[in-house]
Each structure stands twice: as structure tokens, then as C-alpha cells.
């Protein structure tokens, strides 16, 4: 009986020692999983990384702009490879660095240094900033509508410049308006487009 137990133990040990040879095909699979996870993480980081700064020019340097964005002031540097455009009246025109001044709105597309947040711009597009206002019409005075947005914010918009007639829009309607600031001293925005979703 003792001999039997010894032989069983010996063969079991031999079988365990040879097991890695059986499992050798599992190793590439394990490495592949790790590589897949790394690739996925890298893709997430790339996608999550901001490639656009939008906002108002706070100051102009020799070859750079400081732009006030929603996430603070950002430095946007330009070089010979940067292209400049102005978008107005549904068309774009090519401009140059010096055409942009303090207070202009722009969108800068480029690569961002993750350490400093500084962008090297590939393209800069100057365009008057649009505001989206989506909410309920609370009241109207002539062509100025007071809208309560879903966030609770109250906005006033002048719809008189529209080609579409806003006469059918009434209190309680749920509307969407694209507007811009035409007079910085006024709290009323000027509308470019309106859609009545109640209809």
C-alpha cells in the first residue's frame, strides 16, 4: 500500500511539472488581453482629450492669442501651418493672424499640450458666438420674447430680424432659438433662427 501511495504522489508531481507545457497557449492570449486593455485605455484618453478651444480673445501676442474659454484662459499659439478663416453670413473667407482682435469670438482646432493646456492651432475660425436657448415662452413684448430655459435661466430674445414670422408663437410654447449678442450693453439677444416644437 505504501508503495502505491508513493507512486501516485510521484506521478501527480510529474503531471503538475509538465502542466505549464499544456498551458503555453494561454500566455499569448493573456498578453493579448493586456494589449487590448492598453489600446482601449489609450483610445479613451485620446477621445476624451479636448481638441477645440472656443471663446473670446482676451489678448493678442506676437503669434498667439489668449482665449477666455468655459474652462478658463487658454493660450493658443499659431505658426506657418495655421490657417485662419472668418465665418459670416453663411460663408467663410480666408483671413490672417492680424485680422483678429481682442473681443473676437473664435474656435481653435489643434493639439493640446496635456501638461500646460497650451494649444498649437491647426485652424482658427472667427465667428460670432451663437447661443442656444431651449425652453418655454413666458411672455412677449412686441417681438421680444422672454424664455424660461430648462435650467431655469430666463433669457430675452428679439425675434424681429427673422425671415420666418414668429406671430404664431404664443405663451407656453416650447421653442428653440439660436441667437447672438448684437449689443453688449443690452440683455436682449438677437435671434438668427427659431423653431416652435409645440407645433
Amino acid at each position: 500500500m505504501k508503495k502505491l501511495i508513493k507512486v501516485i504522489i510521484f506521478i501527480t508531481v510529474i503531471a503538475f511539472i509538465t502542466r505549464p507545457a499544456l498551458a503555453v497557449d494561454a500566455t499569448p492570449s493573456g498578453n493579448s488581453d493586456i494589449l487590448d486593455q492598453l489600446a482601449s485605455k489609450a483610445a479613451q484618453l485620446t477621445q476624451g482629450f479636448r481638441r477645440v478651444y472656443t471663446g473670446e480673445i482676451k489678448s493678442v501676442g506676437t503669434t498667439s492669442y489668449t482665449v477666455t474659454t468655459n474652462s478658463g484662459d487658454k493660450l493658443v499659439t499659431t505658426n506657418d501651418a495655421t490657417s485662419f478663416f472668418r465665418y459670416r453670413a453663411n460663408k467663410h473667407t480666408e483671413i490672417n493672424f492680424s485680422a483678429l482682435k481682442n473681443g473676437d469670438d473664435l474656435a481653435a482646432i489643434g493639439t493640446i499640450d496635456p501638461q500646460t493646456g497650451e494649444m498649437t492651432a491647426k485652424q482658427i475660425i472667427a465667428k460670432v458666438h451663437r447661443y442656444n436657448i431651449v425652453g418655454l415662452v413666458q411672455s412677449r413684448t412686441d417681438m421680444v420674447f422672454t424664455i424660461k430655459e430648462t435650467s431655469g435661466k430666463i433669457s430675452k430674445v428679439d425675434l424681429s430680424g427673422l425671415t420666418t414670422n414668429p406671430a404664431s408663437i404664443k405663451n407656453g410654447d416650447f421653442i428653440g432659438v439660436i441667437a447672438y449678442v448684437s449689443d453688449p450693453n443690452s440683455d436682449t439677444l438677437t435671434s438668427l433662427r427659431v423653431v416652435d416644437f409645440t407645433k
Binding site: 508503495k3 502505491l4 507512486v7 501516485i8 510521484f10 506521478i11 501527480t12 508531481v13 510529474i14 503531471a15 503538475f16 509538465t18 502542466r19 499544456l22 498551458a23 494561454a26 477621445q47 476624451g48 479636448r50 481638441r51 477645440v52 478651444y53 472656443t54 490657417s83 478663416f85 465665418y87 453663411n90 467663410h92 480666408e94 469670438d105 474656435a107 482646432i109 485652424q123 475660425i125 465667428k127 458666438h129 451663437r130 447661443y131 442656444n132 431651449v134 430655459e149 430648462t150 435650467s151 416650447f174 428653440g176 439660436i178 433662427r193 423653431v195 416644437f197
Partner: protein
């Protein structure tokens, strides 16, 4: 060779191979079983919980905020309550989409050159996405 030795070797081999094989198969497949079990546990919770979680009332998964594109349209997609109407409103285009039974919605929206702000609204909640259409000279 006597009969006792042959039986001993055969039994020893069978036990050894069974133990080694069992160990190998367990290490290979048990993590997969564990991960599958994890998905099974999570999926029903994700289907049931959105209404209870205010942050899950409206989620926009595409496009990324402050992203750029060279295509003159973008697919706006996300999740909200099943069957809910979703208003997607942008500079030059708008859509009213319906969420499916799983709460998923999707619609293509045209973009104008430069910055576009896309407002996605449902259930008194609005999520904005800022997308810039690159100008191709």
C-alpha cells in the same frame, strides 16, 4: 511486471492527469465565468436604475464636447427614459427623436462651418455639446 505495479501506475497516472487537467481548466475558464457573472449582475441594474438616478435622466454619448470634425453632419446619440421624446436643436438643423425600449436615441444633425452648439433636451433637462466643423478650403 506484476499486476499490482501496472494497476498502481495506471491509477497514479489517472489521478495525476485528472488533478493537473482540472487545475489547468479551472485557471483558464474561471476568470471568464466570473466576468460573465459580473455582466449578468450589472445589466439589469442599468436597465432599472436610470429613472432613480437624476444624472442618468439624459446622457449624450456622442459627440464629445469640444470636439472637431470634417464631416458636415454628426450623429447625436445617447440614453434617456424609454419612449421619451428627445429634441435635438443646433445652429442649422433640428430633430425630434424617440428613445427606444432601452432608452437609446440617435439622430443625424447637419453642421455649419465653425462652432456649433447642439442642445439635446428631454424631461426638462438640456445637455449641450460643442462641435466645431473644420473648414476645408
Amino acid at each position: 511486471m506484476d499486476k499490482e505495479k501496472i494497476i498502481t501506475v495506471v491509477i497514479g497516472l489517472a489521478v495525476g492527469v485528472t488533478a493537473a487537467g482540472g487545475y489547468f481548466l479551472a485557471t483558464k475558464y474561471l476568470p471568464d465565468l466570473a466576468s460573465k457573472q459580473k455582466i449578468i449582475n450589472v445589466t439589469p441594474a442599468q436597465q432599472v436604475l436610470p429613472a432613480a438616478s437624476p444624472s442618468a435622466a439624459l446622457t449624450v454619448t456622442n459627440p464629445d464636447d469640444y470636439s472637431s470634425t470634417t464631416n458636415d453632419s454628426v450623429t447625436v446619440a445617447g440614453q434617456t427614459a424609454p419612449g421619451a421624446k428627445v429634441i435635438i436643436f443646433a445652429n442649422i438643423d433640428d430633430r425630434v427623436a424617440s428613445a427606444d425600449a432601452q432608452g437609446n436615441f440617435s439622430a443625424d444633425i447637419k453642421l455649419e462651418e465653425g462652432e456649433n452648439i447642439i442642445s439635446v433636451t428631454t424631461n426638462n433637462t438640456t445637455v449641450n455639446r460643442d462641435v466645431t466643423l473644420e473648414i476645408i478650403p
